[in-house]
Subunit: 140 residues, 2 copies
DNA sequence: AAACATTTGCAACATAGTTGCATTTTTGAT
DNA sequence: ATCAAAAATGCAACTATGTTGCAAATGTTT
């Protein structure tokens, strides 16, 4: 995946019907590399010299989100975080874990949680996100 | 509970070791009455004439939160929402449901979800919050 | 190359939340 | 009831996050 990541990203954008732009490629690469949810601010800082405008980052993430390539992760932070959708099913993202001591975030991609079936008459459940808190291996 | 709500709130504050103030009583009453998570803005608007300062609301909620009387609900909105902790166990809040059509929020207090047991060596899971999306009875 | 659609950067704005500090309220002890 | 200490409140100013409008730049299609 390391060699042909560029090709993979090209394919993702083409399939999604999105214009192939420098910023989309850059941000998708960052998300692949990070392997966990990133905020606008982290992306901006990591881009450094690339002089990415804040608004552009938000709009780029939104276009990737609308295309289904990216998910909003549901952390207990003030800022939204985005991650690749490649490790989520349509109905269920993997759980996210936040360490209450060091603040680190972990994607528990292999922790399968049951999706609740229909609740009461009339409720249709389409999507689930689970957020866990506790102590990470480094802090426990 | 309607008659002795005041007494109940007095008791809550006393047990928590918090000063008994007008604002704490007012906000706790609102949260009881609402039965679902409220944001600072909703509390301010509902207080109306009572002329509650924004900062005071935040600080009041924080004191109630630190005392464990109130939880932060984890909705996919920009602003934090707070609710009474009385329908949550220490480790697990009830799931919250947001309707993607009308935006309404529902507390699924009788939907019991299993708490994931320890994940990998080193992870200690202390708390779980689940957020569901779909269509509410009015919209489905 | 030309025409069209989308993306980008910038400035200005809106909303959520925080901090410092002087004043007021609550509490517990006299 | 009076007083002193501790905590809560209101206000102003501030930071951080996110949004909107628009002209210029870039990507796509023919
Ligand atoms: Mn993740
Ligand atoms: Mn609730
Ligand atoms: Zn940790
Ligand atoms: Zn609805």
């Amino acid at each position: 995946m390391s060699e042909n990541l560029d090709e993979h990203i090209d394919e993702m954008l083409k399939t999604a019907g999105l214009y192939h732009t420098e910023n989309r490629v850059l941000i998708l690469k960052m998300l692949f590399k990070a392997g966990k949810p990133l905020s606008q601010e982290k992306i901006a800082r990591q881009a450094g010299t690339n002089n990415l405008d804040k608004v552009t980052i938000y709009r780029t993430l939104e276009s990737l989100f609308n295309a289904g390539l990216v998910h909003k992760a549901f952390l207990n932070k003030r800022a939204s975080h985005y991650e690749l959708a490649h490790r989520c099913t349509k109905k269920q993202c993997h759980p996210h874990f936040t360490c209450t001591k060091c603040g680190s975030t972990h994607c528990l991609v292999d922790l399968a949680l049951p999706m609740p079936v229909s609740y009461h008459k009339g409720f249709i459940i389409n999507h689930q996100q689970v957020h866990l808190e506790g102590l990470c291996p480094a802090c426990s």
